[in-house]
Structure formats: structure tokens, C-alpha cells
């Protein structure tokens, strides 16, 4: 099969792949990574077109480094994204603005004329730019074969034509199916992101092949290239006047990155989250850096490789792999260039079709009575079909331009001329963002002035070079006026013609904008819009209340109008949401002004703000407003927003306080309950000894005939029980004092082993008598700690006495251990008794707690021992805990910090 057929099939296969990606992405739109900042940053790389892909190498090979200005500008502009682009995004999202034409029109009082002007200039600037993409596809094709992709005869045997139409189908399906343009097109954006990745991959692939496959790395290429006569010029900034070029070309690309309709489309309209800018601010410059790494090596490599052959430098990237017999790599590179071209065409057509439709077609119908009556109830169809017709029209125009005139231009110049045309929006756009006094008249005069100069300096020469205008204009000036000589405008000859054109057009454009704005007045609606635009961060949450509207409007009329464009369901849903958010009662016949503004905003998403304005006024009865009222409502809104914020803060604080109160209350209640429980338990515990004392006292009193032994035993019991009461009372008082923090422990350095021995001295014998063995595992090397000796002895005795109580009746054993563990001294007392169930373990330190399952009921002891022990250990900044398993004994341990 002939190679040209393989290339054609690959091209169409690539387009089909795009359809698949877009279709898949639309079906899976809920996948979060499809809406991630990475996809957003990649979609911005639609900036890199076929002109970049082929033209950069061409420019680098012929002119040197000035190709870089196209990338340095955007990289320099990236840090400003947060300041400028974020504001544009916020405004556009708040007002449902979808194109740069709508943005400028809306800022200057929803002006029809400005919208139309911006649209016309964009189309004039972009059509040639699109046509050079087609040219790039066709030129790259012709490298593969002697046959041209462009048929010599009629369009139907021209492959380029079919490719154009497939792209058109793609844009119609994925870029314009929705009437409401403000909705995002995830499918289209995903496909663009893929294209960005693909062209980067292909270009870097080629770069690596040339640098490391054909040569031995960067230094090899640069060393070898020194033989070229122009080496010095190709790798330096150039002579002095070049600095002027650099400045203006950088400025140009800085502006283009925001103002090109396709950039506005991906950066603003398709932005799903302002915060994506943060990642895009470094990811996008990184992308530009990566795609340029190999431009100079490839250009120099190409110059060296084709040193004796007349090969157009624009085609080096394809010619090199082909000449070294790497057809597959060449095919990949071709598809990379193809993707760069298609992505540019796709996004530009999407953006321009919305502009053409909303700012030329719809206003035309609305302003013409006959037409508007004819389409009265079918405006939604007009909007939808209109966009689709515009897409086809745009593509046809590009195709025709390419076939009829485009063949005569080089890639580079048209791109830059296009940039300069689009840059004419900059004063009106940027001024409108930050300067409230900039007005519609200023914007119109500025743009027209800039456009005219641009046309004279930059467009006319290209028309002349295509032999469509007499050459005399170049030598004698326009209309024979020498000041209007395109390449020596006003008699000045500095920099190249693009730099000149940019400088003069922007200079006069800005001056005109500022002067005319300062000298003329804004209309009331403009005033209102300019306030909202410049101070968008104050109004964006409450845009509807910030626009003054007076008159009479009925819900039914508004709903009917909206339903036509948004459909019944979306309209109802939108109203419901709006009512809930703004506390508006439903069911009334008359709509308040916020509803009118909201409806107009929704409509703007579909038809642009100027047309939305006209459509709304056709269904509502509007009254005139005066300037004072506008300022009043702006102030009102600002106050409302700040009040709202304050209220939110206050209620937040209130909620916090009440939560704190609730917690405190719960704590108090719990404390109260604990205190009650404690008192009732203490009195209860006292009843037992008192009962015995009373019973035996009565018995002794009533029975004089008791035997001496019995008598003695009863007396002894009375004394014992009295002591028990005393102990209990002492412990309760002890605990109370500790709880109230009244006890100050006197601390002294202690060796815990000695303290332990001293404590055991007093009990060891009585324990052993019960047949219980005491095992001591003492770490002799533990350091001393600060503690209160008597209190710690109290704790140890308590633990030992508990252990003794719970040891098994036979073979009872108590194990006592001391050890040094991570800056603490740990002392544990373990018995081999029945153990404590897990759920009871946490509670044993509570006063009077007795594990429920216990067979022995406090043979002695008050039930306060562990509670007091815990308090003592707490006072030492230590910790006490229990670890036990039912059936395998209980271990109670405490640890004290070494200071």
C-alpha cells in the first residue's frame, strides 16, 4: 500500500480516537479526575498549535531564538493568572459569560455593537490562523508523498476537505449540543487534554531521536553546529534592535494567552474551579518548557543534516526521520502535528461559533421585526442550529481561505498577525477589569483605532505579498500618504513589522480608550455593570441583588422564556434553587427584581448578555432608573453581604458557646450524680459497722448472763467495727481533701525498691501466714524518683492487700516487680486469682466499686483504696492501670516519672 494511504488512514483513525475519548469522557463525566486541575492545565496547552509544532523549528532554523517569545510571554504571564484570570473567571461564572465578545459587551452595558465588533475582529484574525492549521496538515502530508493532500480538482476529491468536515462533526457533537453555552463540555475538553499530551509526546519523541539518535546529545549538536555561518545569530538574542522585537513579541503572547478566543474558551468558559489556576500556574509553563526543550537542537540538527539541500525548515521535523528511514517515527510526528492542528481548530471553532451566533445572528433576529416574529417561538432552535451552522461556515471559510490565498503565506507570520489582532481587545478588557470609568464609547473608539492600525501595518502587506493589492502601498504609503507606509508607520522604523504593528496599534488603542472614556459619560446600566465587574469579589455571591431593575414582571412570562432555552425541568430546578437561596416566597404572580436578574443571567449563558437583555425586556415591563438608585442598591448589596458574613460568624460563635455550655452542663450533672452516689454509698457503707455495733451493744446490755468469753468476743467485735468506721471516715476525708487539692505532698528523692521493702515489712508476715507466697522481681538499678514516701507506701499496701484478697485459696502467689521503662519507674503487683472482666477494669478505680462477679465481698477495706491510690499516683504525675484476664489473675501497676 502506498505510504500516502497509510497516512490518510492514520489521520482518520486518530480523529475516530478523539470521538471515542470525548464520548467516553461525557459518559463518565462524574469521574473526578476528568475535572481535575491537570486536565485543565493540559487543555490550556491548546495554545501550542501546528504553527508551534512545525513553525518553531522553522523559525529557530532561520531566525534564531525569537521563536521563544511566543512561550516566554505566557510563562511570564502565568503568575498574573491569579490576579487577572481569576477575576475574569469569577465574573464570567457569576454572570454566565461564555466568550470574550460577551465579556466585553457585558462590561460595557451589555452592548450589542461591542459584542459584534469583537466577534468580527476575532473572526477576521482567526480564520487565517485556522487556515494555516489546515495548511500545516496538508504540507506535512506532502512530505510523505509527491502527491498532494489537496486535490487539484474540485473539493470532493480533496482529503483535506474531508478532514475539515470530520473536525466540524466533532465540534458539533461535542461542543455545541447544548443550547446553554455556559454548561461545560467535558468530552471536548478531555479530547483536547489528550491532544496536548499526544503532541508533547510526539515532539519530545522526535527531539530525543534527533539529539541522541542522530547526534550524541546536546553538546554534540552545538559543537557541530559551530560550522554554520549563522551559528552566532541563531543562538543569541540578535542585534540591538532585536530587544524591541523581544519586548513587543513577549507582550503580544502575554496578551494572547488570555484573549485568544480559544484560550478564553478553555481557560474561562471550561474552567470548573477557580482553584485549578493554582496548579495551572506552574503546570502550564512547565508544559511550554518541555515542548521547547528540543526545538533548538532539532533546528540546528536539521540545518546540519540538510546543509546542501533546499528543504523548508518548517518541515525539518518530518523530513529528518524520513530521510534517516524511520517512517514510523515520522508517522508519529505527523500525527503530533495533526493533533496540534485539530485541537486548535476544534476549540477555535467552538468559541467563534458561540460568538457569531450570540453576537451577530441572534441580535440580527431580535432587532429585525419580521425575523423575530418568524422565529418567535423557535428561538431555542435558532440558537442551537445557529451555532452548528456557524461551525460549518467557519470551517468552510478557513478551508476556502487556505485553498485560495493561504498557500501563499508562511506559517509564522499569520500566527503573529493573528495575535496582534486579538491583542486589540486588551485595553478594553483589562481596563474594564480594574478601571470603573472606562466606558463603552472609549472601548469602541479604542478597538476601532487599534484594529485599523493593525490592518494597515500587518494585514495590508500580507495581502500585497499575495499580489492582491498594488506594491506601491508599501513604498508610497496608504492612499499615497507616506506617514502610512506599513513598514515605516509615522516615519519610524524600529523592530520587525510585527513589533511595529503591535506597538502602534496598542498604543493608539489604549490612548483612545483612556481619552474617550475620560471625556464621555457612562450610561446607567454601564455604571452598574462596571461596579460589579471591578468589585466582583464583593458581589459574586449575590450578583442578582447588585443589579438595579425596576418594573413589573410576571413569573409565567419569565418561565416561559427560560423554558424555551433551558427546558422545563432545568428551569424549574433553577428557580427552586434560587428561591431557597434567597428566601423568596414561591407562588406569587409577580417576580421581584432579583428573579428578573437571575433569569436574565441564565439566559445569557445561552444567547449572550446583550441578547438576553433584549429578550427579557420583551417579556417584562421595565421602568427607568436613575444613577442614585444604582449606587443605593450596590451599597445595599454590599451591606447585605457583609451583614450576612457577620451573622454567619455570630451564629457560629453562638453555636460554639452553646456546645461548650452543653458539655459543661453534662459534666456538672455527672459530677452531681457522682457526688450523690458517693454520699449514698458512704452512708450505706457506714450502716454495716453501725449495725454490728448496735446489735452487740443491745445484746450486751440485755444479757447479763453471758459467758466471759462470749462477752469478750462481743466487746472485741464492737471495737473492731468502730475502728472500721474510723478508717472509713478517715479515708473519705482523705479523698475529699485530695479531690479539693488541699493536700500538699512533701516530696523527697526515693528509691522505690527501698520504699517497697519498707511497705512489705509490715504485711509480709501476715500474708505468708495465709499461705500466700510473695515473689519479688526487683530491678536493682532503677534511679531514684521524687515522691512522698508515706503516700507511696499507702498505695503499695493497698495493692498488696487487694492482691491478697483475690489470690486463689490454695497456692496463692503475689508477684511484685519493679522496672525501668522509658523514663519511668514501673511497679506492679500481680495476683493469681480469678481476674477481672474487661468491662469492669475501667471502673475499679471509682469509689466503692466492686466488680460484680466477685464472690468475696470486701472482707476488709472501705472500697476507697484504689480510688485514693489513683489520686496519689496522679499527684505524682504518674499513671496507674489494671490488666487482667478472667481466670488468670490481676495485675495492677503504676509508673512514676524520673525527673
Amino acid at each position: 500500500m502506498a505510504i500516502e494511504w497509510i497516512v490518510i488512514i492514520a489521520s482518520f483513525a486518530y480523529l475516530i480516537l478523539l470521538f471515542f475519548i470525548a464520548g467516553w469522557a461525557e459518559k463518565n463525566a462524574d469521574k473526578s479526575w476528568l475535572s481535575s486541575p491537570y486536565i485543565y492545565a493540559l487543555s490550556l496547552a491548546v495554545y501550542c498549535t501546528a504553527w508551534t509544532y512545525y513553525g518553531s523549528v522553522g523559525r529557530a532554523a532561520n531566525q534564531g531564538l525569537d521563536f521563544l517569545t511566543t512561550y516566554i510571554g505566557p510563562i511570564l504571564a502565568a503568575p498574573l493568572f491569579w490576579l487577572v484570570l481569576r477575576k475574569i473567571i469569577r465574573i464570567s461564572k457569576s454572570l454566565r459569560i461564555t466568550t470574550i465578545a460577551d465579556f466585553i459587551s457585558s462590561r460595557y452595558g451589555k452592548s450589542f455593537s461591542l459584542g459584534a465588533m469583537v466577534t468580527v475582529i476575532s473572526v477576521l484574525a482567526i480564520i487565517p490562523y485556522m487556515s494555516i492549521q489546515l495548511k500545516a496538515i496538508s504540507a506535512s502530508f506532502s512530505i510523505f508523498s509527491t502527491k498532494s493532500l489537496v486535490g487539484q480538482g474540485l473539493f470532493f476529491d480533496d482529503t483535506a476537505f474531508y478532514i475539515t468536515m470530520v473536525i466540524g462533526a466533532f465540534v458539533i457533537i461535542f461542543g455545541s449540543r447544548k443550547v446553554d453555552s455556559s454548561q461545560r463540555n467535558i468530552g471536548l475538553i478531555s479530547a483536547i487534554a489528550f491532544e496536548s499530551l499526544f503532541k508533547l509526546f510526539a515532539f519530545i519523541g522526535l527531539g530525543i531521536y534527533v539529539t541522541y539518535g542522530m547526534y550524541n546529545g546536546f553538546s554534540d549538536i552545538f559543537q557541530s553546529a559551530k560550522v554554520l555561518p549563522e551559528f552566532e545569530q541563531l543562538t543569541s538574542l540578535g542585534e540591538e534592535s532585536a530587544y524591541t522585537n523581544w519586548f513587543w513579541l513577549n507582550l503580544l503572547s502575554m496578551l494572547a494567552i488570555v484573549m485568544l478566543p480559544r484560550q478564553f474558551h478553555v481557560a474561562v468558559k471550561e474552567n470548573g474551579n477557580e482553584n485549578h489556576l493554582k496548579k495551572a500556574m506552574w503546570l502550564f509553563p512547565l508544559y511550554l518548557l518541555l515542548i521547547n526543550v528540543f526545538v533548538v537542537p532539532v533546528a540546528l540538527g536539521g540545518r546540519l543534516f540538510f546543509v546542501d539541500q533546499a528543504i523548508d525548515a518548517d518541515t525539518y521535523v518530518l523530513a529528518m526521520p524520513l530521510a534517516t528511514n524511520k517512517p514510523l517515527l515520522a508517522l508519529l510526528v505527523y500525527l503530533g502535528g495533526f493533533s496540534a492542528a485539530t485541537s486548535m481548530i476544534i476549540v477555535s471553532t467552538s468559541a467563534l461559533s458561540i460568538m457569531l451566533n450570540n453576537h451577530l445572528l441572534v441580535p440580527l433576529i431580535l432587532r429585525n421585526n419580521t425575523l423575530s416574529n418568524a422565529f418567535d417561538n423557535r428561538l431555542n432552535t435558532v440558537v442551537l442550529r445557529g451555532k452548528q451552522v456557524m461551525i460549518i461556515l467557519m470551517l468552510l471559510l478557513s478551508y476556502l481561505y487556505f485553498k485560495l490565498v493561504g498557500e501563499k503565506f508562511s506559517l509564522v507570520s499569520i500566527g503573529l498577525i493573528s495575535f496582534a489582532g486579538i491583542a486589540q481587545f486588551a485595553p478594553a478588557l483589562i481596563g474594564g477589569l480594574f478601571w470603573k470609568n472606562g466606558n463603552k464609547k472609549g472601548a469602541i473608539v479604542g478597538i476601532l483605532t487599534g484594529f485599523t492600525i493593525w490592518f494597515v501595518i500587518l494585514v495590508i502587506p500580507t495581502i500585497i505579498s499575495a499580489n492582491l493589492l498594488p506594491v506601491s502601498i508599501m513604498t508610497e504609503g496608504l492612499f499615497g500618504i507616506s506617514l502610512f507606509k506599513p513598514h515605516a508607520f509615522l516615519g519610524l522604523e524600529i523592530g520587525n513589522f510585527v513589533a511595529q504593528g503591535t506597538m502602534w496599534s496598542l498604543l493608539f488603542n489604549s490612548l483612545a480608550y483612556i481619552i474617550v472614556s475620560s471625556l464621555s459619560n457612562r450610561s446607567i446600566q454601564e455604571t452598574n455593570q462596571s461596579e460589579v465587574f471591578v468589585d466582583i469579589f464583593k458581589y459574586s455571591t449575590n450578583y442578582e441583588s447588585a443589579i438595579l431593575w425596576k418594573g413589573k414582571a410576571f413569573y409565567n412570562d419569565i418561565k416561559k422564556l427560560l423554558t424555551m432555552f433551558l427546558g422545563k425541568e432545568r428551569t424549574e430546578r433553577a428557580f427552586k434553587k434560587f428561591h431557597a437561596r434567597n428566601d423568596i416566597q414561591e407562588g406569587s404572580m409577580e417576580a421581584d427584581f432579583r428573579v428578573v436578574n437571575y433569569a436574565e443571567k441564565l439566559l445569557s449563558g445561552a444567547v449572550g448578555s446583550a441578547s438576553a437583555r433584549v429578550m427579557m425586556s420583551s417579556v417584562v415591563k421595565e421602568e427607568k432608573v436613575n444613577l442614585q438608585e444604582v449606587f443605593d442598591i450596590l451599597q445595599e448589596t454590599q451591606r447585605y453581604i457583609s451583614d450576612n458574613k457577620e451573622l454567619k460568624k455570630k451564629s457560629e460563635e453562638l453555636r460554639e458557646t452553646s456546645t461548650k455550655l452543653m458539655i459543661a452542663n453534662a459534666d456538672l450533672t455527672k459530677l452531681d450524680r457522682l457526688k450523690d452516689e458517693f454520699i449514698s454509698t458512704v452512708t450505706h457503707e457506714m450502716r454495716t459497722p453501725i449495725t454490728s455495733i448496735r446489735a452487740f451493744s443491745e445484746i450486751l446490755n440485755d444479757n447479763d448472763d453471758l459467758e466471759v468469753e462470749q462477752r469478750e468476743q462481743f466487746f472485741k467485735t464492737i471495737v473492731e467495727e468502730t475502728k472500721r468506721m474510723e478508717r472509713l471516715i478517715n479515708q473519705v476525708l482523705d479523698l475529699e481533701k485530695m479531690e479539693a487539692g488541699k493536700i500538699q505532698f512533701e516530696l523527697s528523692p526515693l528509691d522505690m525498691n527501698e520504699v517497697l521493702e519498707e511497705a512489705l515489712n509490715s504485711v509480709e508476715q501476715s500474708v505468708n501466714e495465709k499461705g500466700i507466697e510473695i515473689e519479688k522481681l526487683l530491678d536493682k538499678n532503677i534511679p531514684s524518683i521524687e515522691g512522698n514516701k508515706d503516700r507511696l507506701i499507702q498505695v503499695i499496701l493497698n495493692l498488696v492487700s487487694n492482691a491478697r484478697k483475690f489470690c486463689t485459696k490454695e497456692n496463692g502467689k503475689i508477684t511484685i516487680k519493679t522496672a525501668l521503662k522509658d523514663k519511668h519507674i514501673e511497679l506492679s503487683v500481680a495476683d493469681n486469682g480469678i481476674g477481672i472482666a474487661k468491662e469492669s477494669q475501667a471502673m475499679i478505680f471509682e469509689a466503692f466499686y466492686q466488680a460484680e462477679d466477685q464472690t468475696l465481698k470486701k472482707p476488709e477495706g472501705s472500697g476507697l483504696g484504689l480510688t485514693i491510690s489513683k489520686k496519689i499516683i496522679d499527684k505524682h504525675q504518674g499513671e496507674i492501670w489494671v490488666s487482667s484476664k478472667v481466670g488468670s489473675g490481676t495485675l495492677v501497676a503504676f509508673k512514676l516519672p524520673i525527673n
Binding site: 450502716r687 449495725t691 454490728s692 455495733i693 448496735r694 452487740f696 443491745e698 445484746i699 465481698k857
Partner: protein, 122 residues
Amino acid sequence: MKKVLIVDDEPNIIMSLEFLIKKSGYQTFIARDGSEALAIVDKEIPDVVILDIMMPKVDGYEVCEYIKKHKKLTSKVVFLSAKGKESDIEKGYAAGADFYMTKPFSTKKLVSKVNELMSLTT
């Protein structure tokens, strides 16, 4: 000889009760918790049971209910408990007690109550 079962977990209280009951001319049995009490009740069928309430394992209420549920057990039950709240006393009678006394108790009153209940038994 008529039989009295003393159920309590405090050794000193048991000692005093044992003295008082023996002196009144009855045979005494001792149980230190509820489950011991149930075993003796079944075996000896005492005429009067002096019953503490708060004991490990099986508490006094349960012992009383057990006695009153089984027809063959004709024992009279006197609760002797440190629990003195209205609700505790009601709960004791609801369990079927014949009398409820709180600790500390009057020895004379206890003895006379036991005698009184004895006269009701056959």
C-alpha cells in the same frame, strides 16, 4: 425445733443474729450469699428466713421470689437490709416478703417479729 435461716455476707452481723435466734430457742442455719441460701432453703425448708439484700451472685430479692414461687417452701421471709429507701422496701414486699427491717436494727424488734411469724407457721 423450728428452723431459722440467716442470710448475710457480714460475719459480725451473722454472729449477732445467730446469738439472738439461738437464744430465742430456734435452730439456726447460716448462708453467706444467695446461692448458698437457695441450697439450704430447698434442703431444710426453714420456718423463717432472715434475708440480706445486697449479696454477690444471687441477691435477696431473687431468693425471696424463689421461696414464694415454690408451694412446698412455706418459709416466712424477713428482709434485713441496709437499703432503706421507700422504693427498696416496696420492692421487698413485691418480692413476697412478710416483713422488711432496715439496718441498723433493734434486736428486740427483730426477735419479736421472728416470734410473731413463727406463731403463724404450723
